[in-house]
Symmetry: C2
Subunit: 321 residues, 2 copies
């Protein structure tokens, strides 16, 4: 078995090449651009770890891991166009650098390249892998659509928000793990537990993300605290307060939406503290984390094989920034 | 064997259903919208005919034909965003009706749905089908990029234009035929001749399209004659005149680019007639058509099996509108 540092290193060696021809230059430089900027490569890592949880590495796992990373980057390129985002990984987004039309098309070829990476795996697994991959791909698009729909909705319920987060981010983490397990020859029950492990881990991670945006230590957080509050974004915290409070506090929260700048962040944070939403969020994250760990526990393999995934989960969920 | 009317009818029965879930409504209504509006369904027809050229129908051919039509419609949705096109098939484009972000995402799910349609075919053929499909998909994107790049280039050579047209439209026609032949169990030589038949037919069709835009009978053409001239578009005619003329005529053509409206169309058409570019274009179309037919001839199957494709080619290339 490999440590996750070892897996990351092997993946980087294989993936860190040019994935596209040289011409047409605009199109393929646009597609290559984001890939070259790196990123944490969490999803391909999960895929390889999902394989090693149940078996020795299947040589095809690197193709599937690459497809997942290509797909993830495709979603970033298109999401950034939709969100009019100027920056990604600290530099201009693809559409800022290459123009919207080329970015759109560059995203498209990244998606095709993802399928081309899957194409060469053993045909014994290919239909099953495609099925899971396509399902996740559709769901990620659904999640992005819901996220956009939510912007213009005055109220979003907690169930709706959890569904959106699950679709937009968790299912790809879950599917990455499951695809690895499929290549390792895992049975259906083990695949499903592993999927649920990833899905709940993803939700826990989003709870943490929303928490840190409000309560993170500015020194460690590395970006502006209160960004979600400033942008009036729906978050676990915002929705919880809207759903659980009434009267004066709810009115104060609604009023704060119209305030601008630091004053608004201060007002909302004060309210959040009054409602003890920080403690609620910590407890919620722990619940998702516990569910996640229970599913890992329920996978029928030697517990020593689960160690790397346990460590990765704690590494991801113990961060302060 | 089936006539092309029969094939069209069967395809329409299978394809004319909702391809997507009901929710999220914006996303999937956007994706379904263009499919419901119809279109000529030439590409899936070619796929099925490619199969029947060499063998009885493989039941999987309908899945592959559907994938091709989904892919083609995906490209229309994204191209219309890039081209800021207001109308498609006589009604508002997807982005005009649903907004650009939803249209972008709707296109994405159409592409994923294309792969999902391929996924369930016999795994014996799946890798080969994916390989051909992915290659064509990449090339279509390359063609669209070149088309956009050409807009800002003062001069485009005939070779560059033919390459762009080949990538943007011909390779998908060619690949549709080839994929059908693969499912019919054709040998490589027959596959290649069929591909070249489709590729040259596609170029001949584009020559005709460019010709009709300038010289079509307004009664039969059904849209404004001279649209390409008004938009200063690169066409077979425009590039030929730019490459073959010099002196006064070339100057006159360059001057005409700055004129507006009907006057410009009249001026350019007069020049085109002086240069006899109409006859040149007819001869060029005939040459591509002849090459196309030669490849059909070279396919090693009974000539009676080629009849439907011959008829379709003449049907497509004898139109006046």
């Amino acid at each position: 078995m490999h440590t996750f540092q070892e897996i990351s290193k092997i993946f980087e060696e294989k993936f860190g090449k040019r994935h596209f021809p040289l011409e047409p230059k605009n199109l393929y430089d646009g597609a290559q651009y984001l890939l070259t900027l790196g990123g944490k490569r969490i999803r391909p890592l999960l895929c390889v770890m999902g394989n090693e949880l149940v078996n020795d590495l299947n040589p095809d796992v690197w193709q599937v891991a690459a497809a997942i990373e290509l797909f993830h980057n495709f979603t970033l390129v298109h999401d950034d166009i939709m969100d009019h985002a100027p920056l990604r990984r600290g530099v201009p987004t693809v559409h800022k650098k290459f123009g919207e039309s080329t970015a759109l098309l560059s995203g498209d070829v990244m998606l095709v390249a993802a399928y081309e990476s899957l194409r060469s795996i053993d045909r014994e697994y290919l239909p099953r892998v495609l099925k899971l991959f396509n399902t996740a791909a559709m769901q990620v698009c659904e999640g992005q659509q819901l996220d956009m729909d939510f912007e213009s909705m005055p109220r979003v319920t907690m169930d709706q928000y959890v569904e959106m987060i699950t679709l937009k981010t968790s299912v790809l983490l879950a599917t990455s793990l499951q695809l690895g397990a499929v290549l390792g020859g895992a049975g259906i029950a083990n695949q499903e537990h592993l999927y649920e492990f990833g899905k709940n881990l993803g939700i826990a991670f989003q709870v943490q993300d929303d928490y840190l945006d409000a309560f993170g230590d500015p020194e460690k957080f590395g970006k502006q605290v209160g960004g979600d509050i400033l942008a009036n974004k729906k978050t676990f915290l915002q929705i919880h307060v809207m759903e659980s409070e009434a009267g004066a506090r709810l009115e104060a929260l609604n009023r704060a939406a119209d305030v601008k700048g630091t004053e608004k962040v201060q007002a909302v944070l004060a309210l959040y503290r009054e409602c003890q939403v920080d403690q609620w969020a910590k407890a919620l994250k722990d619940r998702y984390m516990a569910t996640s760990m229970q599913h890992l526990d329920d996978i029928a393999v030697l517990s020593s094989r689960k160690k790397p995934l346990e460590e990765l989960a704690h590494f991801l969920l113990d961060r302060q920034s």
